[in-house]
């Protein structure tokens, strides 16, 4: 049952002097949707193009479905790709685009047609076959690109920022569609994005990359709840990072924050300087001081309808907080006290 698995063994990629990928080991299970997430230039597209066979690796080996494809050209890999720009052929109709892969494999026309119709039906575009790509909306073009990729029944489907040309509303809709098709066809899919919300919404697993290597990988919940670094904590969901001193490490920890001693029911391995991760919506703001609260002043307040966002100045630096609106919101300049639930807090290394 290795059909559709993807494995990298020590793969590197250099463009002249630029190191686009440091030695990378990957193992992607068949039938899962894995997202490559990370800031611009971290090597996501490069990784994807290596799977596709559009770039040769500088060193290392690549396996698809258990087979070594390192030297196999893109033409012969059972991999399809949806491009950021869609890359629909402007001189062919929608049906010709979707059927292109089948036609160049010399499949007879009579077999191509039903498969094209099936593919278009899968993305909800029945009856659009005779149009030119230029006569479709952005979202429709995007779905044609998906249909074109899946009619070939690839073992692996690659998507490079497939939604970046769509507006926010459409983006949510199309990403659900893509996820639904992926699960229905039990495809292995590798999905590149730099939008962490999109990644959380569609993925079985997320691989976060930074500086040409993997920073952390795991399920969306793993990454959110157990970030292994300040970078991940900040990148996956917003986080406030407060400098703390860990005085006792272990299954539970003792820390000193702002001169005060606290015990937290979370694990951390080493003593010394570390960061306390506080999610903005986990913070409680009160007018009265209490034990374990931190005094602050509101330096900015923004009312967004379903939430209120505050920027707070404290002795430990700026803190970002989000609360549900109530009858008596704080104003700029108000003095407040910040409290948090020790059970939800996490410690990460600096």
């Amino acid at each position: 049952m290795t059909k559709g698995s993807v494995r990298f063994e020590g793969v590197t990629k250099h463009f002249d002097d630029v190191v686009a990928l440091k030695p990378l080991d990957l193992d992607i299970a068949p039938g899962t949707l894995v997202t490559l997430l990370g800031p611009s230039g971290c090597g996501k597209t490069t990784t994807l193009r290596l799977v596709a066979g559009l770039e040769p690796p500088t060193s290392g080996r690549i396996f698809i479905g258990g087979e070594d494809v390192t030297h196999l050209s893109a033409t012969y890999r059972k991999v399809s790709m949806v491009f950021q720009s869609y890359a629909l052929f402007p001189h062919m109709t929608v049906a010709e685009n979707v059927g292109y892969g089948l036609t160049v494999k010399r499949m007879p026309k009579s077999e191509v047609r039903p498969r094209v119709e099936e593919g278009l039906a899968m993305v909800g575009l029945e009856g659009f076959g005779d149009r030119l790509p230029s006569e479709l909306s952005g979202g429709q073009q995007q779905r044609v690109a998906v249909a074109r990729a899946i009619v070939l029944e690839p073992e692996v489907l690659l998507l490079d920022e497939p939604l970046s040309n769509l507006d926010a509303k459409l983006r949510r809709h199309v990403r659900e569609e893509i996820r639904e098709i992926q699960q229905r066809l039990k495809l292995t899919a590798i999905y590149v994005t730099h939008d962490q919300e999109e990644a959380m919404a569609v993925s079985d697993r997320i691989i976060v990359m930074k500086n040409a290597e993997i920073a952390q990988e795991g399920t969306p919940a793993d990454l959110y709840e157990r970030p292994n670094s300040a970078f991940i904590a900040d990148f996956i969901g917003d986080a406030n990072l407060l400098p703390v001193d860990v005085t006792r490490a272990g299954e539970t920890v003792d820390i000193v924050v702002d001169g005060r001693q606290m015990a937290l029911p979370t694990a951390f391995a080493t003593t010394g300087q570390a960061n306390l991760v506080l999610r903005p919506h986990q913070l409680r703001l009160t007018r009265e001081a209490a034990a374990d609260t931190l005094p602050a002043e509101v330096s900015y307040a923004a009312y967004l309808g379903n939430q209120v966002q505050y920027t707070l100045t404290t002795a430990l630096g700026e803190i970002f907080a989000v609360t549900v609106p109530d009858a008596n919101p704080f104003q700029k300049g108000d003095r407040v006290h910040i409290g948090f639930d020790p059970a939800a807090a996490r410690i990460v290394s600096v």
Binding site: A52, L54, P56, H71, S73, A74, T75, Y76, V79, S80, M81, F83, Q84, S85, Y86, A87, L88, F89, P90, H91, Y100, G101, V104, K105, P133, S134, L136, Q141, R148, A149, L152
Partner: protein
């Protein structure tokens, strides 16, 4: 890989064992050799069995390839074997062709010029070798790409570099078959016959090298200034008749080379209209001032200003309006903006236009031939060294080297010094601003220089048409069809008979140009495809060598071809094929440029999408790239067709009685003083080319109406 290698192995063996190895009497396509496969139609196998044992040699390549395919255990070993046997076979084939029974031979034997069999065998060996290279993991393991690279490299090597070596060899040859050496070359190369500076020091005339150089500088300076003026008018003023200016840019492309010279003679020559007028009105003496530097310079200015305009219009437009607007918001006035912002940004472009003008001028052949008089330039001296009363090929070779040194220096300067800086301000971002208008002084300077010039050009063209309809220009202006009838008479009696004197060369010209055009476009676009879309080692050298033929003057190529292809192993002189080949390799750089420009506009992800969908690179090229390049292909086709018709410099060496070309026919008439028929013929050519261009435009126009102009991936 294996399938492709087997295919070429079979093709190659057929070529070697069955097809006539040498040139056949009736030509390959008559298939006379099918009936009698002995004598000159014998195949390599047959000849090898009957006293030409060296023809076994190429077959060793096939044996090696077969062994590698059959015995090698790993993919990599097969690839190595194929590469080794392909190259070895090719080397043996070339070695025997060059060294046995030729002038430079080591062995006296009967080994005539190679024919179809040898060609097929060589191609098969080449593709076996490139298939092997693809198996070694080069060119992304794509046999199509490595094969294409190999084919183009081989063609450029045979038809550009190989002939040039003959010029070198000839130039260094010692008298009386004494081998090669500097003994004769240096004194002749440095002699005052070439480099004399008498015209500067006042002691007589200059050598052709100095003449060419001075002419080149003057023409380059003049055309750059005029081109800039036109470009400024075109982009920075609200001049009304801009369309008319555009027409001016098309004219020189469709004008046979000496037409302008002729028109100038008819106006300013000893019996010219204007000369006559001044002589009649003011009693001025009729002189021959036109024949010499001034006349040639004037003709070149008229011929090449539009080319400078075409280059500079891109440069002037390339200066981003937002920079000019920024300068103006910083309170610079219009003159200051031009002086300190726009002009410095244009400077590399101006240098570029200057160097191109220089190359065009010293490579020019038609104008000096018609108007040169005693003013000798290199290109015409080369011609006279070959066709003159005392043929002196060594002198032609030495002059060619001199000329080549000039053009190559300018070409290298253009590529490595100017080319890099050029177009630095073209951002590729849509710029919505407006170009700053010119300040009044500059605007009026531009108008005063450019508009009379444009008017003058128009008058010349009108006169050409007019002159073709009068009996004898300057003497007898009665209207007549006589010239057209002499050239293009058709008699309808028992069928249609083309009895006019020009028909033969006219049809030959059209046929040969029509065959050469698609081949030129194909080679040019294939090269562009490799350059834009593929990565391979040695790509820079590859690009350089394909663009090089731009810097080789036509006369030099013509001389090189007659030296190289007049005897075995490749005997082509006197055929139509050599004309086709010379057109392909002279016009190829333009096809490459056009292809690169068009292909760079095609989103790369389109090819990648096609590859990802399981198409190989050949299919991708055919089904995705070519259909989207329609307009560029048509442009390349039109251009190479038209250039083939108007080309004279290389052609004049290569025409033969059977394959005479329009331009050399016209030269003949001009030399006999039959101006009437010459300009009548030229007018017919201009009309022919205009028809073709307009027809092509209509086709392109229809296409672009249907689809958006810029091709993006949707």
């Amino acid at each position: 890989m294996k399938r492709i290698a087997v295919f070429w192995l079979v093709v190659g063996v057929i070529g070697w064992a069955l097809l006539p190895w040498y040139l056949t009497e009736g030509g390959f396509w008559r298939f006379g050799w099918l009936a009698d496969m002995s004598g000159t139609n014998i195949s390599a196998l047959g000849a090898a069995l009957t006293g030409k044992p060296w023809l076994w040699l190429p077959a060793l390549g096939f044996v090696g390839a077969a062994l590698s395919l059959g015995l090698a255990r790993s993919q990599l070993a097969t690839a190595r074997g194929l590469f080794a046997s392909g190259t070895a076979g090719l080397a043996l084939l070339m070695g025997q062709a060059l060294l046995i029974g030729t002038r430079y031979g080591v062995w006296e034997a009967e080994n005539p010029g190679i024919g179809a069999g040898a060609f097929v065998t060589a191609a098969a060996l080449l593709f076996i070798a490139t298939t092997g290279i693809s198996g070694l993991g080069k060119g992304r393991g794509d046999a199509f790409v490595t094969g294409l690279v190999g084919a183009i490299v081989a063609l450029v090597a045979i038809f550009v570099f190989f002939p040039l070596t003959f010029i070198l060899v000839r130039a260094f040859e010692l008298k009386g078959g004494g081998g090669l050496g500097f003994g004769e070359f240096l004194p002749r190369f440095l002699s005052s016959n070439i480099w004399g500076i008498g015209c500067i020091t006042g002691g007589g005339s200059c050598g052709p090298a100095i003449n060419s150089f001075l002419l080149g500088l003057s023409t380059a300076a003049g055309t750059t200034i005029m081109g800039l003026m036109f470009a400024l008018i075109f982009t920075r003023t609200d001049f009304r008749a801009k369309k008319l200016l555009r027409v001016l840019t098309v004219l020189p492309i469709i004008t046979p080379p000496f037409v302008i010279g002729l028109a100038l003679i008819l106006l300013f020559g000893r019996a010219g209209t204007i000369t006559e007028f001044f002589s009649w009105a003011f009693g001025w003496e009729k002189t021959r001032w036109l024949y010499g530097f001034h006349g040639v310079w004037l003709a070149q200015m008229l011929s090449f200003t539009p080319i400078a305009f075409l280059v500079l219009i891109g440069v002037v437009e390339g200066v981003s309006p937002s920079m000019e607007e920024a300068s103006q918001t910083l309170d610079a006035n219009r003159w200051q903006t031009f002086r300190y912002v726009s002009f410095p940004l244009m400077r590399p472009g101006l240098a570029n236009a200057f160097l191109l003008g220089f190359i065009e001028s010293i490579a020019d052949f038609g104008n000096p031939l018609v108007l040169g008089g005693n003013f000798n330039v290199l290109s015409t001296e080369i011609y006279f060294a070959i066709v003159g009363t005392i043929a002196d090929p060594a002198q032609a070779a030495i002059l060619s080297i001199t000329l080549l040194t000039f053009t190559l220096t300018a070409f290298l300067a253009q590529r490595f010094w100017v080319g890099k800086k050029n177009y630095a301000t073209v951002t590729g971002k849509a710029d919505s601003g407006r170009h700053a208008a010119l300040n009044p002084v500059l605007r009026w300077t531009a108008y005063l220089l450019a508009l009379p010039w444009a008017f003058f050009t128009m008058v010349l063209y009108a006169l050409i048409i007019f002159g073709s309809f009068v009996k004898l220009w300057g003497y007898d202006h009665t209207f007549t069809f006589e010239h057209y009838l002499r050239g293009f008479k058709i008699v309808v009696r028992n069928g249609v008979h083309f009895t006019g004197a020009a028909w033969d060369s006219y049809f030959t010209t059209l046929t040969i140009s029509a065959i050469a055009a698609p081949l030129t476009a194909a080679v040019g676009l294939a090269t562009a495809y490799l350059l834009v879309r593929q990565k391979f080692t040695g790509k820079d050298a590859f690009e350089f060598s394909t663009m090089l033929s731009f810097a080789i003057p036509g006369t030099v190529i013509g001389v090189a071809y007659i030296m190289a292809f007049n005897f075995p192993p490749i005997e082509l002189t006197g055929t139509g094929l050599i004309l086709i080949i010379v057109f392909i390799f002279r016009n190829m750089p333009v096809g490459v440029r056009g292809g690169i420009a068009a292909m760079s506009q095609l989103d790369r992800s389109l090819d990648e999408a096609s590859i990802m969908l399981g198409a190989n690179s050949a299919t991708t090229l055919r089904r995705v790239i070519l259909p989207l390049m329609g307009p560029a292909i048509l442009a390349a086709l039109t251009y190479s067709f038209v250039r083939a018709i108007t080309s004279v410099s290389a052609v004049i060496f290569l025409v033969s009685a059977r394959h005479n070309m329009a331009t050399s026919f016209i030269v003949g008439r001009v030399e006999n003083g039959e101006y009437g028929i010459a300009i009548a013929y030229a007018s017919v050519l201009i009309v022919t080319m205009l028809t073709v261009i307009i027809a092509m435009q209509l086709v392109i126009g229809r296409r672009t109406l249907r689809r958006a102009d810029r091709i993006e991936a949707h």
